[in-house]
């Protein structure tokens, strides 16, 4: 299979199912916040759904993911259960982390979601460690670190890529280049012509791909996963995308280029993909509407579940600091 091959219908629908869930979940999250039902710093990923959807179509539950504050799309694509997600971001005891982690620190090892970090760049060194574990255990799992364009300028990026390449770790560095790091544009902060160029300094394949194109993204991820499983080492993927909202939901996004943003929204990758599925005869309008209805129902249930869940006991304040001492 080469990078241009058309994907099978099943794979395309798999990707769409994830993307539809992600998009609907972001919309619901913003609505729940806007209406004051939940209070939290929310980093909208609207516009970036295709990347993890196509990526995770290549992963199993056993593969590892380390993601970031803007990472709920990554987690959902990787199989995070909606109810546990919503309960966590609502700070409830039924959340994955009993409400103690919150939206920036979701963890769910049962689906390989090992760490979510709020520190720029810090997904990468830890993903290396997971990959090193897989390498030592010879279990052919791969680890994925996702991060943003801005994160490619911090020290941890460099140390991680070098170590991964020297040790030939089964790790994939997925940079979701959405043009902005908080309020700063790519150009103002990043000297590289493109981030994928940096792979060269580590003799690592550096691939730039349209992250909003499910086929291209799927193939790029597939190659990287195959390389990793075959023991051929890491890959740097720069997936081009765009962030439809401000850095943190609610910020006045006056620093964003209006025209560029309008164009990106006009090219919203999820409806575009939907359209194409119908045009290509992969799925009918009804089938897709059914997927979306199913997703909406699941989210409804999750929100209700979360808001009905109890807050943790105050005694949880000092538990889980240490385990039982040896």
């Amino acid at each position: 299979m080469t990078g241009n091959d058309v994907l099978g219908a099943e794979i395309q629908l798999d990707i769409y199912r994830r993307a539809a869930l992600l998009k609907a979940n972001d919309e619901r999250s913003r609505k729940v916040i806007t209406t004051g039902r939940l209070v939290m710093p929310y980093y909208s990923y609207r516009g970036q759904e295709i990347i993890p959807s196509a990526l995770c179509a290549n992963l199993t539950d056993d593969d590892y993911l380390v993601t970031i504050y803007r990472g709920i799309h990554d987690m959902l694509a990787k199989g995070m259960p909606l109810k546990k997600l919503w309960a966590e971001i609502a700070g409830r005891v039924d959340g994955t982390c009993k409400g103690k982690g919150g939206p920036m620190h979701l963890t769910y090892p049962a689906r390989g979601i090992m760490v979510t970090t709020g520190i720029v760049g810090s997904s990468m060194p830890i993903a290396n460690g997971l990959a090193w574990g897989a390498q030592m255990a010879e279990n052919s799992r791969v680890a994925v670190a996702t991060f943003g364009d801005g994160a490619s300028n911090i020290g941890a990026f460099h140390e991680s890529l070098n170590l991964a390449a020297v040790w030939k770790l089964p790790v994939i560095f997925v940079c979701q280049n959405n043009h902005y790091a908080e309020h700063t544009t790519y150009e103002k902060a990043t000297a590289a012509r493109q981030i994928s160029d940096r792979g060269h300094g580590y003799q690592m394949p550096g691939v730039r791909v349209d992250g909003n194109d499910p086929t291209a993204m799927y193939h790029a991820a597939r190659e990287a996963v195959e390389r990793a499983r075959a023991g051929e080492g890491p890959t740097l993927i720069e997936a081009m995308t765009f962030r439809f909202h401000g850095h943190v939901f609610g910020d006045a996004d006056g620093y964003m280029d209006k025209a560029q943003k309008a164009e990106a929204i006009a090219n919203d990758p999820v409806p575009r993909f939907r359209q194409k599925l119908i045009e290509d005869g992969i799925a009918s309008e009804d089938e897709l509407a059914a997927i979306e209805a199913d997703v909406a129902r699941q989210i409804d249930e999750a929100v209700d579940f979360a808001l009905a869940s109890a807050f943790p006991e105050i005694s949880e304040l000092t538990t889980d600091v240490y385990g039982a001492m040896a």
């Binding site: 409400g99 520190i119 801005g150 020290g155 790091a181």
Partner: protein, 333 residues
Amino acid sequence: MSDTDTKAKPVMIMQAINAAMADAMTDDDAVVVLGEDVADPEEGGVVGVTKGLSSRFGEKRVRSTPISEQAIIGAAIGASLVGFKPIAEIMLMNFTTVAMDMIVNHAAKLRFMSGGQTHVPIVIRTMTGTGMSSGGQHCDFLESWFAHTAGMKVVAPSNPADAYGLMRSAIDDPDPVLFIENLPIYWQKGEAPEPGHRVPLGKAHVAKQGSDVTIVSYSGTLLQALAAVEAMDAAGVSAEIVDLRTISPWDEETVLASVRKTGRLLIAHEAVTKHGVGAEIAATVSSELFRELKAPVSRLGAPYAPVPFSKPLEDAYAPKAAGIAEAAISLCK
């Protein structure tokens, strides 16, 4: 914000900090600002504390940076060695963790290691504070690390006038100063600072006189202590409240004088109690006023745990007025 209107009406802490930087930049061309998003095309920071500065002084003097905290502090150090007075922003205090080498091994030590040939007049602005639902990696108080680091000064204002005056002194100072801003109280209003006013580093302020117990605090927790006055008064406890303002070097004289008068000391801060700044103050006062203390020195800080996300847990994490009142009252029993 111009000199005249800062005088006219109460201002918020963040405005006072902004005005201090603007006035210092007006007075001295050597003062420059750098950090993530600090320039106006990037909206003067995520909270807008540096808003207006680059429009007024140019992007040559107010530079947004990549997300590269080591490079930010390194750039500040280097420029400070050749005549500039950089104000470097490390957005949140937890992100100092990626720049500790530059701060601790370099900024703090270069004067000493060079035998006084060089010095590092930089201000590192950083914000932190619980209460914004940001979870375990965005609101730690790590001031004791820096207070333990010889060569660093550490400052933490609790009101607009002090914020202005301490910032001006920090910029004037010939050595590195860590300037801790409390995010949740940025919007707190208070008396406008006199333009040009300096609050000396190393001097505490008795925010309220009292006779039964001394409460030493700083930053956001100082406001909690002030908010506890009513409950303490109701219980018949007269608290003297000392705003430390400078955490390192701290004003032993003012604190000791107050405790000498009251005979009792409670230290309250948002940092984890264990090995926090309160430990140094408690150890010093317990030793210095060994025979004068009427009760053991008491410390109130965060529990030995990371900051939790869940709202009720987060609310219970850092000391609040009620807890401070309770601790002070029980100390006087």
